[in-house]
C-alpha cells in the first residue's frame, strides 16, 4: 500500500510558526512519526510539501500513478483553492484531510473547507498526532475495514 502525504503552504515553518496553535514539532519530526507508523502498518510513504498551489495541483494529478491514497493537509489552500478541489475531483483517489489545529475553533474563514466533502473523513485538532490518526484511518479504509 502506497500512501502520499501532501502538505500545503507554510507547513515548512512548523515548530516556529504560532506554536500555541500548531504545536512545537517540526514537519520533519511529524514525517518521522508518520513513517514509523507506516512501517508498522506495512505501508509506503511518499512525503511532499509546497508553498505553490500549482505544485500541489500537479502532485494530486500524479496520485493515480503513485499512490493508493493520500493524507492531505492543504493548510491555507484548504479555504481558497478551487483548482486543488478540481484536481481532487479529477483523480478520485481516496484521501483523508488532516488539520493540526481545531479548525472549528478558528476564525470564520477557516471553518469551511473546499476539499473536506470529497474526503473519506477529516481529523482536526490533534496536532502532529492527527497525521498518524489520518494514516491509520486511510489504511483501514483502503483495506475495506
Amino acid at each position: 500500500m502506497r500512501i502520499s502525504v501532501l502538505n500545503g503552504p507554510n507547513l515548512n515553518l512548523l515548530g516556529q510558526r504560532e506554536p500555541e496553535l500548531y504545536g512545537s514539532k517540526t514537519l520533519a519530526e511529524i514525517e518521522s512519526l508518520v513513517r514509523e507508523e507506516a512501517k508498522r502498518l506495512g505501508a509506503k510513504i511518499s512525503w511532499f510539501q509546497t508553498n505553490h498551489e500549482g505544485e500541489l495541483v500537479e502532485a494530486i494529478q500524479n496520485l493515480p500513478r503513485r499512490a493508493d491514497g493520500a493524507v492531505l493537509n492543504g493548510a491555507a489552500f484548504t479555504h481558497t483553492s478551487l483548482a486543488i478541489r478540481d484536481a481532487l475531483l479529477a483523480v478520485k483517489v481516496p484521501f483523508v484531510e488532516v488539520h493540526l489545529s481545531n479548525i472549528f475553533a478558528r476564525e470564520e474563514r477557516r471553518r469551511h473547507s473546499l476539499f473536506a466533502d470529497l474526503a473519506v473523513g477529516v481529523v482536526t485538532g490533534f496536532g502532529a498526532h492527527g497525521y498518524v490518526m489520518g494514516l491509520q484511518a486511510l489504511h483501514a479504509a483502503l483495506r475495506g475495514d
Copy 2:
C-alpha cells in the same frame, strides 16, 4: 483513566437508520469495539445514549465526578442545543467530538457544530472506526502525549 462515551438522539437506531450514511453497525457493536480498545489502553468506559436533551445536559454536568474525559457524538443536538454547549462550558472536562458520517459532506445545517470549538479535536466521516480513533486521541491527550 475513566472515559465516558456520550451518544445523542437516534443513535439507538444505528444499523437500521440510513445505513448508507451511518453504516450497518449497531450502537451495541460500536460499544464492543470501543470497550475492546479501552481494555487495550487500560481505560474504563462508561457508555450512555439518550434521545432527551435534558438527560445529555445532566450527563455532562456529572462528568467531573465520573470521568477524566469524554467522547461525544451529539448527533442532531450538535447543531441545535445551546444548553448542551453551556453544560460543556460549565464542566470544562476535555472531550473529543465524533461523527459517523462526514459532516462536511452533509447539508448546510449539519456543517457547523455548537460544541466543536470547545473540543480537543474532531473526528468525522470514519463510521464506527471514528469512535475508536476518538478514544485513542482522547487517551493520548489526557496522558499529555
Copy 3:
C-alpha cells in the same frame, strides 16, 4: 390500517391557547373528530401528545412497529427540532404534516418546517378540520389512491 396521530408541545392547551389563531376546539374534541372519521374509513387510531422533544423522537422511532402511517402536528418543534427530523428520516414511515393555523400567514420563523419536505404532503390553516383532511389524505396515499 393503523394510523398514529402525534401532537407536539402546547397542543394540550388547545381551546384556551390563542383561540383566534388555533380555534376554540380542545385537543380532546379534535381527537373525537379524528376517531369518528377513522371509524368511517376503517382505520385504527393511536393518539399521542407530548411537550417533550425526546418523547416525540421516541414515539416516531416506535412507528414502524405500531403504525402504517402518521399524522404529525409538531407544533413549535416543527421549526426547531433536528432530532425529530432525524427520527423521521430513520423510520421512513409515511406521514402527513398538519397545522391548525396557516403557517404561511405567521411570522417568518414559523414559515419554514424541518419536517415538511419529508412528508407526503402538508395541510395548513384549516383548524381542527385539517386533522380530518390529513387523515383522509394519508389513508388515500397508503391505499395507493
Copy 4:
C-alpha cells in the same frame, strides 16, 4: 354554492409535464374528479386555466360576481406575481391554495408563496387528490363549519 377553480401556467400540460413531480393525471381528469365531488357536495364549479398573468388577474377580479369562493393553483405565478396578489387583496373572496407537488420539498424559490398568507389554508403535495381536499375544505369554510 358556486366555486371557481383557477389554474395557472403550464397546468394545461399535466400528465406529460414532469410526471414524477406532478403525477400522470391530465388537467381534464382532475376537472372530472373535482366536478364529481362538487356534485356530491351540491356545489357548482367553474373551471379556468390560463398561461397569461393578466387573464388570471382578471379572472380573480371577476370572482365577486361569479363565485362564493375559489380553489387556486397559481403554479409558477405563485412565486412571482404581485399583480395576482393585489387582485386577491382587492376582491377578498375566500380561497384555498392548492399545489400538486409538495412545495416544501422543492427548490428554495418555490418554497414561499405570494398568495398563501391570504388564503383560508393551503394543501400541498397530494397530487390530483389535493384539488378535492381543497374543494372540501373551502366548502366547509364557506358553510362556516
Copy 5:
C-alpha cells in the same frame, strides 16, 4: 403637448379595492380630474389601463409616436417587471412615476421600484391628487421650467 397616462394592474378596481390604502375615487373619477387639469394646462391626455404586462410594454413602446411624456402608475408591475423597465429604457420618453399610497409606508417588497430611477421624479402617497401633481410636474419639466 401630448401626455399619456399609463395605469397598471388592478387600478381598474379603484374605489372598491382596499379604499383605506388607495382612496375611494374610481379610476374614471381620477381620469376626470386629470383631464380637467390638462385642459387648464393646454395639454392633451391619452388614458390607458391594463392588467397585462405585455400590453403595458407595448403602450410604452408606442410612446415616441404618441406622446411627449408620460405619467406612469405601474402598480404591482413596479416591483416585478424588468420587461417594462427595458421598454422605458428603450424609448427614453420622459415620465413621472405616481403611486396612490405612500410606498415608503408599505411592506418591504413595495418599497423599491424597478422604474423610478429612470423617471424625472416620483410622487407617492397623495392619492388621486398625486396624478394631478405628476401631470403638473411633467408639464413643467417638458417646458423646461
Copy 6:
C-alpha cells in the same frame, strides 16, 4: 394655515453644491418661490435651515405650537437620524417629505428614508419645484381635499 419648511444639513450650500444633482437655485431662491405660492394659497410660511441634528429635533418638537403642518427636506439626516424620526413620531404633525434629487436614482444608502413612512407623502426628483409641489399637497391634505 401656518406651514413650517424645515431644511437639513448642507442645504445652505444649494446653488454651488453639486448643481448637476441639486440644481442651480440657491436656498434663498427656493424660499422665494415657496413664499410666493404660499401667498397665493393664503398660507403663512416659517422657514428654517440647520446643519445640526439637535436643532432639527427641537424645531420639530416645537411644531405643534407653531405650525399646522411641515414640508421637510431632511437631506443627509433622512438616512441616518433616528432622533428626528422619534421627534416626528412624538409630535404627530402632518408633513410632506421633499427631495431635490430623485433618491431612487442615487446610491443604495440614499434610497431608504427614516421619515418617509410617517409622511403624508413624498415628492422626489423635481428640484426646486418639488418644494412648491410639497406645499400644495400639504395644503390640500390639511384642508381635507
Copy 7:
C-alpha cells in the same frame, strides 16, 4: 401575591460555572435572597429549576393555577426554544425576564431572546441582584404601580 421563579438549564451549577460570567453565588443562595425580599414584600415564592425544556414548558402551562406572575431566567433556552415561547403566549401570565450576565455583552447568538418581547421588562447584567430587581419590578407591575 404568588410569584413563581423559573430557572432553565445549567443554572443548578451556579457558583462553579464560569464564575467570571455568572458570579460566585449558588442557586440556593440566590433563592434565599429572593425569598427574603419576597417576605419583605409580602409575596409568596415558588422556586423551580430544570434542565429539561419539556418540564419548563409544563411549569409555564401550570402558571395560571399557581401564580400571579413569574420571574424567568430561561438560560440557554432563551435563545432556542420556540416551545417555551408558545407556552408563554398561551398562558399570558405576566413575567419579568432576568439574566445574570449582561447578554448585550455576550456573543451574537445570546443577544436576542425568544421570550423578551412578551415580558413586562428585562433585567440583565446585575448577577444575583437581578433576581431581586426582577421580583420587585414584577411586584410593582402586578400591583399596578
Copy 8:
C-alpha cells in the same frame, strides 16, 4: 431539421433600443442572417417575437410538435419568468440561450438566468452574430456532433 427562434420582450425595438448595448441591427436583419445560415446548414427556421410572457410560454409548449430544437433569447423574461422556466422543464426540447449583450458585464440583476441551467449552452456578448453561433451550436448538438 426544424429550429424555432424565440425572442422575448422589446427585441422588436432592436436597432433603436440602446444601440451601444444591443447593436444597430434590427430584429429583421438578424432574422435574415439566421435564415441564411440555416439554409447553408439545411435547417428550417420558424421565427417568433412577443412582448407577452403567456405567448412565450405557449410558444414553448408548442415546440415538441413544431421543432427539433430552439434558440431562445428571453430578454427581460430571462431574469423574472418562472412560468417560462416551467414550460422549458415541461417540454424538454433542447435549446441554446443567446444574449446580444454580455450579461456578465451588466448590472447584478441581469447576471443570473432562470433558463440557462436547462440549456445545452449559452452564448452571450457577440451581438447579432451570437444568434448565428447559437444556431450552429444547436445544429451540431442535435446532430450529435
Copy 9:
C-alpha cells in the same frame, strides 16, 4: 456617592410622546422619583437632558470629574451614535443603561444598543420605575454589593 442621570433626545417630551409606549409621567416627575430614592440611598443626583449628540458626548467626557457613576437613557442615540460609545469607552465610568419601553418588543432597529455591552447592566421595559431600579442597581454595584 454622586450619580449623574443622562437623558437623550426627545425625552423632554415624555408624558405627551407616544404615552402607550413611554408612559404618562413627565421627565420632571421621573426626576422627582429618582431624587427621592437617591435621598433614601444617600446619593447625590445630577440630572441632564439634551437633544444634541455633541452635548451628550461632552457630558460623558465630564463624568470622571463629576460623578461616581451614571444612569444613561440614550434614547434614539442608543442605536446610532458611535461618538457616544467612544466617549463611554474613553471615560470608563460605570453606568447602567435604562429604557422606558421594552426594547426587545420594538422594531428591529431598536433591539440592539451601541452602549449596552459597556454597561454594568441594562433595565428595559419598566417605564419610569426603571430609572429607580437603575439607580438602585448602580448604587449597589458602586458599593460592591
Copy 10:
C-alpha cells in the same frame, strides 16, 4: 491574425477528468480542432496550458507582444483569481471566455466569473466545440464584423 489560446488548471487532464461534465476529448484533440479551424480562417494559433496562476498571469502580460486576441478557459481560476483579472485589465487585449461545461448549471460558486465582464463575450456549455465557436467569434470581432 495571431490568436493565443490560454488554458487553466486541470485542463491537462481532459478526457479522463469527470467526462460526464467535461467530455471525452483530450486537450490535444481540442487543440487539433482549433488549429484546423484557425487554418481555415487564416489565423495563427499559440497554445498554452498551465496549472500555475502566476504563469497564466505572465502569459496574459505577454499577450500584447504575441497576439491580437485570446481565447481563455481559466477553469477554476475563473472563480478565484483576482491577479488574472488584473492582468486582463492591464493588457486590454480582446478575448473570448470559453467553458466546456455550462457554468450556469454548476454549483453556486462556479456561476460567477471574475473575467467575463471584461470579455468580448462568453461561450459556455458546448464542450470542445465551444473552443471553435470562441475562435470564430473572436476572429469576427477582431475583423470588426
Copy 11:
C-alpha cells in the same frame, strides 16, 4: 499654502483615552508636531476639534474660503455621518484622511469609512506620526508632486 486640520469627537481626550489604541500623546502635543512640520514645509496650519457633527459640517463648508486642503480625522463620525460626507462632496476641497489606530484591525463597524473614497488618500495606524505623514502627503499633492 493654508492647511486645515479637522478633528472629530473625543479626540480632545487623547492621551487618557484608551492609550493602548490611540497612543499617549495629547491632541495639543500632536498639534505641536504638525505645526513644526508645517513650518518646515512653509505651510500655514489652522487647527480645529469638535464633538458636534454640525460644527464639523460647517467647518468643512468654510474650507473653500480658508484653506487649500485639509487633514481630516473624523473619529467616530467617519463611520456614521452622511452629513459630513455631503459637506465634503459639496466643497470639493482636497483632503487626506488620517486615523491614529489601524482601522483595519478594529471591529467590523470601524473598518469602513464614509469619507475615504473622497480623499486623496488614507493614512491609518501610525499614531501621532500619521498626522505628519498626512500633512506631507497633502502638501505634495497640492504642489502636484
Copy 12:
C-alpha cells in the same frame, strides 16, 4: 536597518497598466525613489516583485533572516491569499502595507485586505509617493519613534 520591499502580481506592468488608477511611474522608477529615501535614512533596501503567490509566501518566510521590516504591496493577492496571511502570521516581522490607488475608492472586493490588520499601518492612495511614506513610517516604527 535592512528593509525588504515586496511587490505582488502585475506591479511589473506599472506605467502602462491603467495609469489613471496606478499612475505613470514604472516600478523601476518607484524603486529609485525608495532607494534614494532609504539612503537618506541610512537603511538598506532589498527589492522584490513576483506574479507567483508561492514566491511571495517564501519571500515572506525568508524575512526574519534578511530584513528588520518590510513594505508590502500585495496587489491582487491582498484580497485573496490566505497563504500569504499565514506567512505574515508565522514570521511576525513588522511591515507596512502600501497601495498605489485609494482602495477605499475601488470596487467592493478591493476594499478589504487579508493582511492589513497584521500591519503596523496602511498607506493608500498616494501613488508612488506612498512607498516613500511607507518606508519612512516603517523606519520610524522600527526605531521606536
